[in-house]
């Protein structure tokens, strides 16, 4: 009598690292994802690596941008009027 979890194949750190970016980009699904998540539960190093990459990605998503300039706004308005 095996539980679902026992069917999950163990993967090496090397294999886990190959999947890190697919994982944080939400591109990893099904069995591959389950195997990685299982590895992350038991491996501190890979867990920390995933946390780091997630943090960096989230830092990039929050980069501030100088507000759209007044000149651009005027240029675009003029452009749109033209058509």
């Amino acid at each position: 009598m095996k539980t679902e979890k026992k069917h999950i194949k163990s993967i090496s750190c090397e294999e886990a690292l190959k999947r890190v970016f697919d994982y944080i980009d939400e591109h990893l699904r099904g069995k591959s994802r389950a195997e990685l998540e299982h590895h992350l539960e038991t491996c501190r190093h890979c867990f920390d690596r995933v946390e780091f990459e997630k943090l960096l990605k989230s830092r990039l998503s929050k980069l501030k941008v100088e507000a759209q300039s007044e000149t651009l706004r005027k240029r675009l308005d003029a452009l749109l009027e033209q058509f």
Binding site: F21, D25, F52, L56, L72, L76, L80, F83
Partner: protein
Amino acid sequence: MKLTKDEQEDFKALVLPLLDELHRLAYHLCHNQCDADDLAAEAVKKACENFRRLRDRAKIKPWLIRILSNTFISACRARKDYRAIEYVEDTDQEGEHFSLFTQISQPFLLWWGNPERELINKLLDEDIQRAIGSLPVEFRLAVVLCDVEGLSYQEISEILQVPIGTVRSRLARGRSILQKKLWHHAQESGILTRKKDDHENRKKAHQEHQL
């Protein structure tokens, strides 16, 4: 090809709410206000000229992003300092697997906290933007669309019209070079060495205390 009055109104209604986003994307790609303004304006102009070709208006956003991306790539390729990625790939092999995390999380440094988290917190937006701005064009686009704009591989693949495998490999290369640049910046600007001094001082203080 002049748009009818109705088409003009439709175009405005669809594009105006997306202008801030377009400008944001242009800014991250150019890392320079003037170039970003030019790029955004040029993209909107092209979109307007080709508006009738847009069959599904629900896809206005990816369509605009694609026009802006293509405009950006063409402008970059026309420049003298443009380096084709094949060339970059040939000459920068070891950049392939560079990991900031591996560099920082040295076991002997671990005991004074979480240096990798601290590094990310200490980097200024300006530092990160400059590093992104120095990436080879195709890699920069992949990183900006994925990490800054939060698009999926599928969406990026459609926007850039390249296979998903290509999106993944450009992202991997782009992120690797980006992390390497951030690492060099952290070392040059002393973000890391300051911590190391703290570490040395604390060790000394600890030893003195024990004497």
